[in-house]
Symmetry: C3
Amino acid sequence: MPLIRIDVIEGQHSNADLTEVSAAVHRGIVDVFGVPERDQFQIISEHRPGRLVYNKSYLGIERTDRIVMVQVFFSTGRTDDQKKAFYALVAKTIADRTKIRAEDVMISLIENTRSDWSFGGGVAQYLTLPKEQWK
Amino acid sequence: MPLIRIDVIEGQHSNADLTEVSAAVHRGIVDVFGVPERDQFQIISEHRPGRLVYNKSYLGIERTDRIVMVQVFFSTGRTDDQKKAFYALVAKTIADRTKIRAEDVMISLIENTRSDWSFGGGVAQYLTLPKEQWK
Amino acid sequence: MPLIRIDVIEGQHSNADLTEVSAAVHRGIVDVFGVPERDQFQIISEHRPGRLVYNKSYLGIERTDRIVMVQVFFSTGRTDDQKKAFYALVAKTIADRTKIRAEDVMISLIENTRSDWSFGGGVAQYLTLPKEQWK
């Protein structure tokens, strides 16, 4: 269910690292938010230098051109503690597996509801399909 | 009022088919959501292979690289039944008029409110303009 | 905190004008919404002609290919009057400092909450950091 947009500066990351970023975000939504394993939909965009604008020190975090902006659109219902665990897991996983520092992982969330999703075929699956079949 | 983002994989669709996708989504918001005919604002982005990540079978829907991700930002107020009708109409229209299968049409919605829109000139038209003039 | 997406048609704006657009939007969120000066995160995307679809006259506003679509994702809490002041300031500033007309500045807002932001390091700063340190 989440639709995830990942925005980076072109030339800053290898394909392998971007694949790890994609996997880390997916791991977070599966392990922390309880989303089904196959529920993976992401859009990764690379931007020319100067087109991705960021502050290098807001809130005492030192950011570099390796910044990764992750925006997650998903259904409401997660607690603040789950959100905190999600941020921590994603940033740590990315830092562990890529050349990207945890400080360069920025994440924001936008919530909607179950009726706001159609996964193909013109059907609102979360309204019509029994929850046991969400996989 | 809707701002619509349409994301596809580059090289998968002809310009003619993308124009039909654009028109089908617009037809849906006009006919089902009652949006004025001239209220059309869309951003269509093509992504390199590998940059648009999707699961090929989540919820039993078979997806291909011809996947079309449609994200609609619009004002709250539509019922679940209207949303279902919107998904059905858009997927069917696209399948009827292009080489894209209905299964490859993924749609998600994000709602805001009337005060969240300025259509130019620095004015919040939905707060200042009588509804009869929303056209 | 705001994450801002700015979408334009390629070849329509100089780099200098895009920099002014970026600065004008930031000025608006700082001066009207009270966001900290260093809280600047924006993604500017240029699209091929035909990929950014807009109506040339909806609501009586005359738009051209110099259209600038600004989408602001930010925490809830602003009043309608603040939103109106934001639209007015951003459009005027852009019109004053660039070749872009105020009529070509389209703005929409999407709200979330304090828990929906991590600015790096895997931390939900707005939940863990005292407000005096939001700078």
